[in-house]
């Protein structure tokens, strides 16, 4: 099955896909922004500041999803010696870090009108900051050991240690008293968020997911060309 993931086979797809993904991203983002900024209602308690949720929450979801994917791919790649999985993980990391920063900064902006402070060392915020540090360490490791077999082992270890933090982020609001409210959206039980707010939230999540796919594809193509550049040197 893994042979289908070989770069030589999928480059013809990954090199053409970005323009279609970008087109789709712009359309979905336009719909999402219209819904989030104009059409969706204000919250009865938080007023219009609730609109920050439409960038803050999707960014947080995507960054957690990306880090989980990086860990899964690194682990499988390390066990089955699939170098391409490491290339995919490496290409996912920059957008993961940017989404993490967006979640932290927009959360901080949202915190000021809601809690009266830009920053608090509560469990959710602190664990999100730790995740950003793991992204940075992961990317630095790739920079330091770029041409070294060691990088696969080191980045896998970083990802495995970092993934411990992901359930902490998810359940921090249940385990500790934090400024954050408990989750409003549950897959297994009834969500407490109204459909008029859930719809723009899902549209914005789709737009952010498309953006992360776009950056991933561009970065993955760049990494493949880098490898081919080295291949030309050896000819």
């Amino acid at each position: 099955m893994f042979k289908y993931f070989e770069p030589n086979k999928i480059f013809s797809i990954t090199s053409r896909a970005p323009k279609y993904v970008l087109f789709l991203f712009i359309i979905i983002l336009s719909i999402g922004l219209t819904e989030a900024l104009i059409l969706s209602p204000e919250d009865y308690k938080q007023g219009d500041s609730v609109r920050i949720m439409y960038v803050h929450v999707p960014a947080a979801w995507i960054t957690l999803g990306i880090f989980s994917s990086i860990t899964f791919l690194s682990l499988i790649g390390y066990i089955f010696k699939i170098r391409n999985f490491f290339l995919i993980s490496k290409s996912l990391a920059p957008s993961g870090l940017v989404f993490n920063i967006v979640a932290l900064v927009t959360g901080s902006i949202w915190g000021k009108p809601t809690w009266g402070t830009w920053w608090a060392w509560d469990a959710r915020i602190t664990s999100m900051l730790i995740l950003a540090l793991f992204y940075i360490i992961y990317l630095i490791a790739w920079r330091i050991y770029e041409n070294n077999e060691k990088v696969f082992k080191i980045t896998t270890i970083i990802a495995i240690i970092g993934i411990v933090n992901v359930p902490i982020i998810k359940y921090s609001v249940d385990w500790w008293n934090t400024l954050h409210q408990p989750a409003s959206i549950n897959i297994l039980s009834k969500s407490s968020i109204h459909i008029s707010m859930l719809f723009p939230l899902l549209i914005m999540t789709a737009a952010f997911a498309l953006f992360s796919i776009l950056i991933f594809l561009m970065k993955y193509n760049t990494e493949l060309i880098k490898i081919k550049n080295k291949g030309l040197d050896r000819l």
């Binding site: 480059f11 970008l22 920050i52 940017v98 950056i215 760049t222 060309i225």
Partner: protein, 75 residues
Amino acid sequence: MINETLLMNGYGLYVWSAFAFTLLSFTTLYVFTKIQYTKEKKKFIAKFGTLNPERAAFAKSQSINKEILSNSSII
């Protein structure tokens, strides 16, 4: 209507700055990634140009190299 959307009952500054920061981050990441891609591609084309015909033909026999040369731009 426009004033309502801009001011958002006093929350406008917070809401608009959060959205602006997000879109600015996206644009920056996109531009940096695009620059990196273009740089690597230019390097590849330049290196390919220095190969002798025999080696160039061999390199071109790999489909991925042909793809890189044929796709002038990914976006």
